[in-house]
């Protein structure tokens, strides 16, 4: 019997391949994700292992407040005098200190005076000791010599080759101060990996790096090697007693493991994120496979009938269909698995293109990847084939001798109740997720996710009832444009509503998801914009080039002297700890109310002085604060600032320009290492004009990292990150739309098989090839439009529901975006029709008429 199944599949290769496609892509996404993230993890592991290869112990600063939220939280530097004490320890063979930054403080500046950047990855900066034995130096010299003195720099090989720099040439670099030119002394690379992603690397000797990073007299780390015979663990225990506060020591291996695991956490998030899209594609694949196999089963009624007459039991018939699904699943999974290898490269390129650069290393193809991909792909296909298999058992033996369609699914009768039942379940789950604030967040998210899935399933059940009216309405233009071919197309799409419905349902899912994402993004943007409109009363904003990394406060000073400037007010940003939690801290200047409209609920910011603070209303409420309440704020370096609440303001729902706790800029600058502005605001005489903009820009010439923007430019640039992320989501969701396109192709190809005789008849009575193609094309478009008509409203509805959960969400329907999706659906239909239309048009009239 198994042989019969295999032979049957081989005899219907095209159908089998078409079915397989739906699963190949989903499996490829799963396998590609694993390959990519495993490769990344291995890459990070290699980087950190090689960095700490010859180091027995590492002393680093230890943030007093744990991990920060906005990325700029860095462990505080510590006093350089610690090095002398460490060197004096008996078992220390060698020790050296250095500074470094991995948060994009130091940037390279190109010949055009602009920051060299590739995507969002920031610049790295390290100090090296040009005189030492380079024992602790993780870098490898590619060309030149280690940089020495205040005018020499080393840059990474990737940047050198990308931007055409060589040893001896000049390049700019900017830290917390203004840009300086340096002579390139070295081209370097990090041992062990081919690339660290898009980030640039700048290395200097210690004094130059300390100055650039505003850490004169300080170290970020001390590397220690033990005397022969002393274990790293022993060395660490010897060092520990002499450590000052806010420092820590780890073995080299321990430090490598710690940093690897930090990186792994980020990679794991990426992995889950990408797997979700693989999951969506597989979910859509279930619909496509179930539908394709159902059609095939219906077309093979006579074959199943024959098998039954010659002694096959119902169970054998069912097993044969499921076995078919199993074989297709295994073959598709294997194909998908290997396609995943290519997809991993593609994903990396995709992230590169969107500016999220990731390190490149040797591809890792783990056993887990193979096992999970094969199991997931096979199980999903077998699952999808159970429904058609059950239908196949309904074929009576008499079908062997009697022309006639497969009896309608017994489930069809329950279609409407099932649809409304599932939709009710969906609404219940969504409402639970939305409104039951007492439930744990994980459960609520599960509720929302389950609700979304249930809404798809429910809509799929409902679809057969919606198809006839929808096809009739959406097919109307086809009858106008396509003439007789359009008419036939409309009739064909209504002929088997269940089939058209499940084909369209697959597309519905993808379109619903992109629509939901589009509506949510539009809502978030609208909310944000209204918040900016309410608060941004300055003429200009001064930010870093990318708009979100902080800029040194020197640029703020520089713009103060530009002609026409009346007010400049910077907003510092950093992390702190208050009431036991990490909070974002901002520092404002006394004139902040001239540039930002703040709605005070109580008090104000007029006299923050050296111990005043203000907070947002909800924060005050959560912590039972009122004007005059004391707040203890801890800084990363471990200092505790005793503060008194001076004001409580109310921020609009789109966001506050300040952190949870705001202090005076003066206090901030005293309490934080290397203070920087999140943004600064500028007022000028005469308001915004091109001339003023030019004048302000030219005052920032020595600060290529900074830029001035008007309120509307500020909004746009702040939304850029969201837009990029949005586009990435669209690209990843398009995978599931591609899967559903295969569904349309499958249905059409199978319909063409089925209608061969009919098409032959139409051709015989005068339908031209062109009209035949047009007929199929219009049918595809009608199906795609049904998918759009089901999916887009569903997506909008889901987005509005989720938006109302987020709360205080500006409801915005991005009409233009949704129209784009409809047009995209039409094109999708056109693309899906190419192959089936060609097949139909090429049918030999005579053979087609005799086809059984």
């Amino acid at each position: 019997m198994f042989r019969v199944v295999l032979k049957g599949l081989a005899g219907r290769k095209l159908r089998a391949i078409l079915t397989a496609f739906a699963i190949i892509l989903g499996v490829a996404m799963v396998s590609g994700t694993y390959v990519l993230t495993d490769t990344l993890k291995a890459g990070f592991g290699q980087i950190f292992t090689s960095v700490y290869k010859s180091t027995d112990a590492v002393i680093t600063g230890k943030s007093a407040i744990g991990n920060g939220q906005n990325g700029q939280l860095i462990a505080p530097s510590f006093d350089a005098s610690l090095l002398t004490k460490v060197r004096a320890l008996p078992d220390v063979a060698q020790a050296d200190g250095g500074v470094g930054d991995t948060n994009g403080v130091v940037k390279l500046v190109g010949r055009n005076g602009k920051v060299i950047s590739h995507g969002f990855a920031g610049g790295l900066a390290f100090s090296v000791n040009p005189d030492g034995n380079q024992r602790f130096n993780p870098l490898v010299l590619v060309h030149g010599t280690w940089p020495r003195g205040a005018h020499e720099i080393g840059i990474d090989a990737a940047t050198a080759s990308r931007d055409h720099y060589a040893v001896g040439r000049m390049i700019g670099a900017i830290g917390r101060g203004s840009v300086h030119q340096y002579r390139i002394a070295a081209i370097v690379k990090l041992g062990g990996v081919s690339s660290i992603g898009g980030g640039t690397m700048a290395i200097f000797d210690l004094p130059t790096a300390q100055k650039l990073l505003d850490r004169v007299g300080k170290f970020d780390s001390i590397y220690v090697a033990a005397e022969q015979g002393t274990t790293p663990a022993k060395l660490v225990s010897e060092i520990r007693p002499i450590l000052p506060a806010a420092t820590q020591v780890r073995t080299g291996q321990g430090e490598a493991a710690k940093q690897t695991s930090d990186a792994d956490n980020a990679t794991s998030f990426l992995q889950d994120f990408l797997l979700a899209f693989g999951g969506i594609a597989l979910f859509v694949g279930i619909f496509v496979i179930a539908n394709t196999l159902s059609i095939t089963v219906a077309q093979r009624a006579r074959e199943f009938g024959t098998l039954r007459t010659i002694g096959a039991t119902r169970r054998q018939v069912m097993t044969s269909v499921i076995t078919e699904g199993f074989v297709i699943g295994v073959l598709a999974s294997v194909t998908g698995l290997f396609l995943g290898l290519a997809l991993a490269k593609g994903l990396q390129k995709l992230f590169d293109a969107f500016g999220f650069d990731l390190p490149h290393g040797n591809t890792v193809f783990a056993t887990r990847t193979i096992v999970v991909s094969l199991i997931v792909g096979t199980v999903v296909t077998v699952l999808a084939s159970t429904f058609p298999a059950i239908r196949a058992t309904r074929v009576e033996p008499i079908a062997a001798v009697r022309e006639g369609a497969l009896p309608p699914s017994r489930l069809a009768r329950f279609g409407l109740p099932a649809a409304f039942g599932t939709l009710a379940l969906a609404v219940a789950l969504l409402l639970f997720g939305a409104l039951d604030h007492s439930a744990p967040t994980a459960q609520r998210l599960l509720g929302i996710g389950g609700g979304v899935v249930a809404s798809f399933v429910g809509m799929a059940f409902l679809a057969p009832s919606l198809v006839p009216p929808l096809a009739s309405a959406l097919g109307w233009p086809a009858t106008r444009i396509g003439g007789v071919a359009g008419n036939l197309a409309r009739e064909n799409s209504m002929r088997n509503p269940a089939r058209t419905a499940s084909t369209a349902a697959a597309l519905m899912i993808g379109l619903a998801l992109v629509s939901a994402v589009g509506v949510l993004a539009a809502g978030i943007k609208a909310t944000f914009e209204s918040a900016v409109d309410k608060q941004f009363i300055a003429d200009y904003a001064l930010t870093s080039q990318n708009g979100f990394t902080p800029t040194g406060i020197d640029s703020e000073a520089a713009i103060r002297h530009a002609p026409g400037v009346t007010v400049v007010s910077g907003v510092r940003g950093g992390d702190g700890k208050a009431f036991g939690k990490t909070v974002q801290v901002t520092g404002v200047e006394p004139n902040v109310d001239k540039v930002i409209r703040i709605t005070w609920v109580a008090g104000n910011a007029k006299a923050l002085g050296s111990d005043g603070a203000f907070v947002e209303k909800s924060y005050a409420k959560d912590h039972h604060l009122h004007v005059g309440s004391p707040i203890a704020l801890e800084t990363p370096s471990g200092a505790s600032l005793p503060l008194k609440l001076e004001g409580i303001f109310k921020a609009p729902s789109g966001g506050s320009p300040f952190g949870q706790v705001t202090i005076s800029a003066a206090l901030f600058d005293r309490s934080y290492q290397a203070p920087a502005n999140v943004y600064a605001f500028v007022d000028v005489t005469g308001g915004v004009s091109d001339a003023t903009t030019a004048a302000l820009s030219s005052s920032l010439k020595r600060y290529p990292d900074a830029k001035v923007q008007t309120a509307s430019e500020f909004k746009k640039s702040q939304e850029q990150g969201l837009n990029t992320f949005l586009n990435l989501l669209y690209v990843l969701l398009s995978l599931s739309i591609i899967v559903s396109l295969f569904g349309i192709v499958n249905t059409l190809v199978l319909s063409v098989f089925e209608r061969t005789r009919e098409i032959g008849m139409l051709r015989a009575v005068g339908l031209t090839r062109r009209q035949t193609r047009r007929m199929i094309r219009h049918e595809a478009i009608v199906t795609a439009l049904i998918g759009a008509a089901l999916g887009i409203p569903l997506g909008v509805g889901l987005a509005l529901l989720i938006g109302s959960i987020i709360g205080s969400f500006t409801i915005t329907i991005p009409i233009a975006t949704l129209v784009t999706f409809v047009i995209a659906a039409i094109f999708a239909g056109l693309i899906a029709a190419i192959f089936p239309a060609r097949r139909a048009a090429r049918l030999n009239v005579l053979e087609a008429l005799q086809y059984e």
């Binding site: 032979k7 007459t309 033996p397």
Partner: protein, 245 residues
């Protein structure tokens, strides 16, 4: 006639009604039949006489509205699907008008398919005999689309015989073949009855097919109107003309 000692198939007072109320159609209105071991019975009748319905019910493909059918002494009326399937495996062979071969299997694989479905071993000697009898020895590795209509029907005949069933039902076995090939197929069927003692019931409207039968049952309006033994083709045509008018 009924209750015959060595009857392979018996049917008593079969009726079959399709639909109900005004639109009800009585395809069979009380048919009794008994097929003896080693007999070739032809069922004839004009279109709509109920001959196909009769055969479907005898073979357990359709259920009678009333009446009983036994095959090899087992009452099949009221049997559940699994029992009926098992019975088909052991006792029944089918020959169809449109051959109903599986296109992806070779002739030999098609022939042995009932055995592989039942999970039984192929009796090589018997298979060789069948191939020789049907003249397919040199064609056994060909697929159906590489065979002529007559050859395809030979494969179907061999498939029906391979499990040595108690009874073979043939539904218009020559209905899709030209006259010369039809003759060959009929000779083969007669031969299988004579050589192997294969009891066969054949529904046909081909007068020559009826002429090779041991017994011909004429059906009209759901009833057996005449039964003849050793009747010539000419007489069959005459009877049929009488039924048509």
């Amino acid at each position: 006639m009924t209750g015959n000692e060595n009857a392979v198939v018996t049917a008593t007072d079969l009726t079959r009604r399709y639909g109900d109320g005004e639109a009800a159609v009585d395809a069979l209105r009380g048919v009794d039949i008994s097929v003896r071991d080693g007999e070739l019975v032809a069922v004839m009748g004009p279109s709509g006489s109920g001959k196909s319905t009769l055969m479907h019910i005898l073979a357990g493909l359709d259920k009678p509205t009333s009446g009983n059918v036994t095959i090899g002494g087992e009452t099949i009326t009221g049997m559940d699907d699994t029992a009926l399937t098992k019975l088909r495996r052991r006792r029944i062979g089918f020959i169809f008008q449109f051959f109903n071969l599986l296109p992806m299997l070779t002739a030999e694989e098609n022939i042995t398919l009932p055995l592989s479905i039942a999970g039984e071993k192929v009796d090589k000697v018997w298979l060789g005999q069948l191939l020789e009898k049907t003249g397919l020895t040199n064609r056994k590795t060909h697929r159906p689309n590489e065979l002529s209509g007559g050859q395809q029907q030979r494969v179907a005949i061999a498939r029906a015989l391979v499990s040595r069933p108690s009874i073979v039902f043939a539904d218009e076995p020559t209905g899709n073949l030209d006259s010369k090939t039809s003759g060959e197929i009929l000779m083969l069927m007669r031969d299988s009855v004579d050589t192997f003692g294969q009891t066969t019931v054949m529904v046909t409207h081909d007068a020559r097919a009826a002429a090779i039968a041991d017994r011909v049952l004429f059906l009209a309006d759901g009833k057996i109107v005449q039964e003849s033994s050793d009747i010539s083709a000419e007489d069959v045509v005459r009877v049929m003309q009488g039924l048509d008018s």
